[in-house]
Amino acid sequence: MGKKISLAAMPLALGSMFQKAYGQTALPAAVVDVLNFALSLEYLEYHFYNHCIVGKTPGSAVTDVTFNFPNAASQAAITTIRDHEKAHVDLLVGALGSSARAPIAYADTDFRAGGTFSTVYSDYGTFLAVAQGFEDTGVRAYKGQAGNLLVSPGVLQTALQIHSVEARHASHIRQMRTAAGTAIYKPWVSLGASGQANDSGVPQVDAVYAGEDLTVQAGANIVGIGGNAGITKAVAVESFDEPLDKASVITIANLFLKDCKKLS
């Protein structure tokens, strides 16, 4: 892994921050739970991208990745994101130490989701659509767990930084989807074409966007706030990303895990 990538994935040498804060003492059980939950998601994301990149490597034994990247930049971007997810996995494994969950292998996954996304590795558009689902879910999952990490500021710091890296991924994937076709996907989560919470154009991932259309924040109605007519409902939705609770995230993640490997 190049130096640049490790910096991007782990600004300020987060690994050492973890070790400094927790190397000698046990993490609280609730924090271990959150980190193992995050680790499961990171394993999923890593394998999703890694299988694609390995499949596009000349001479690879992986032969089911049959779509072609439209250009070198798109393959490079997916490689970069794959490397970040790997860095996140390594970081979490290092932080958890002996408390880390058993690794998830590619063989434990089903990115075709039982046939819902049967073309995920044969159609570039489907691949990107699922990627967007993963990234937007990741952002929501970390956000939903932040409060549970208040007891461990060092861990919270690291989780927040991973959270914002996932949001950068989501933004880029959305731009890649726009570049790949005729539909437009904003880099930020907006309202769907019919005013629904899911703006991805993929109804199979409605659960990923459930509740993203909130327009009232801490009691304040964001639509038109401060007399600004430009703050429409869509703007209000775009301006705030919503969290997702653990159970909902697990339901989404389990779509991509084989029966005996599902999260609970």
């Binding site: 640049k4 910096l7 991007a8 994935a9 600004p11 300020l12 930049a73 490079a76 971007a77 970069t80 970040h84 952002v139 970390y142 956000k143 932040a146 409060g147 208040l150 500021p153 060092g154 919270l156 710091q157 927040l160 930084q161 959270h163 914002s164 890296v165 996932e166 949001a167 950068r168 991924h169 989501a170 933004s171 880029h172 731009q175 904003k186 880099p187 930020w188 924040q217 801490a218 304040a220 964001i222 706030i225 401060g226 600004n228 430009g230 703050i231 429409t232 703007v235 209000a236 775009e238 301006s239 705030f240 990303d241 919503e242 969290p243």
Partner: protein, 202 residues
């Protein structure tokens, strides 16, 4: 004129960053962005001294309580909104229609954030900051994009750095709802400058 240079050099902010008393007549000034990041200058001009008195009071931007952190976010959102309002009102001629539309979006997101903090902080809110963007060439795409990138990366870094100092889970979540939107902005602007650089921040 005595300046307190407030520099951010990485994804974490020092507590001292806003541990200064900023009078209502003081302002945050954009001072330039370089490889090291962005510098904000909190400046108290001599002509403003006359307005500072104990009755009006000032606003202390520090992290000693959650209101301090929220006011820090409010200050940043004011700065970002002011910048993006200028860009959206007169974008560089070379901006494409799509870029103009997305910079309109970003403008409204930042206004929404600014107004949200103003409403949420209510009487605890600091006043409106005056901005000075005289060092920015708003007609140049490179200048606007470079500055936007610096602002958005700074915003992400600031929220990430402030997060662990927040004590209340509700406020932490609100900051979390905003920071990922700033990160989406940052990645978009970075990709405009150099496609694929969405997460190349230091």
């Amino acid at each position: 004129m005595k300046h307190n240079e407030l520099e951010t050099k990485n994804e974490l902010h020092e507590k001292s960053l806003f541990d200064k008393t900023v009078g209502r007549r003081s302002f945050l000034q954009y001072a330039g962005a370089g490889a090291a990041g962005i510098a904000l200058v909190a400046a108290g001009c001599k002509k403003d001294r006359g307005y500072e008195n104990p009755i009006m009071g000032g606003a202390t931007l520090d992290f000693k309580d959650d209101f301090g952190v929220l006011n820090y976010a409010y200050a940043l959102e004011q700065l970002e909104a002011a910048f993006h309002i200028k860009v959206a009102s007169a974008p560089p001629a070379s901006f494409t229609a799509a870029q103009k539309a997305y910079f309109q979006d970003i403008q409204f997101h930042e206004i929404a954030h600014r107004e949200f903090f103003k409403a949420a902080l209510s009487t605890a809110a600091i006043g409106s900051l005056e901005v000075d963007f005289s060092s920015i060439d708003f007609t140049s795409s490179a200048s606007v994009l470079g500055t936007a990138m610096a602002f958005e990366d700074l915003g992400v870094a600031a929220y990430n750095g402030a997060g662990p100092r927040i004590k209340n889970g509700t406020y932490l979540l609100l900051a979390g709802k905003i920071v990922s939107v700033e990160a989406r902005h940052a990645a978009y602007v970075r990709d405009l400058i150099s496609n694929g650089s969405f997460a190349d921040f230091k």
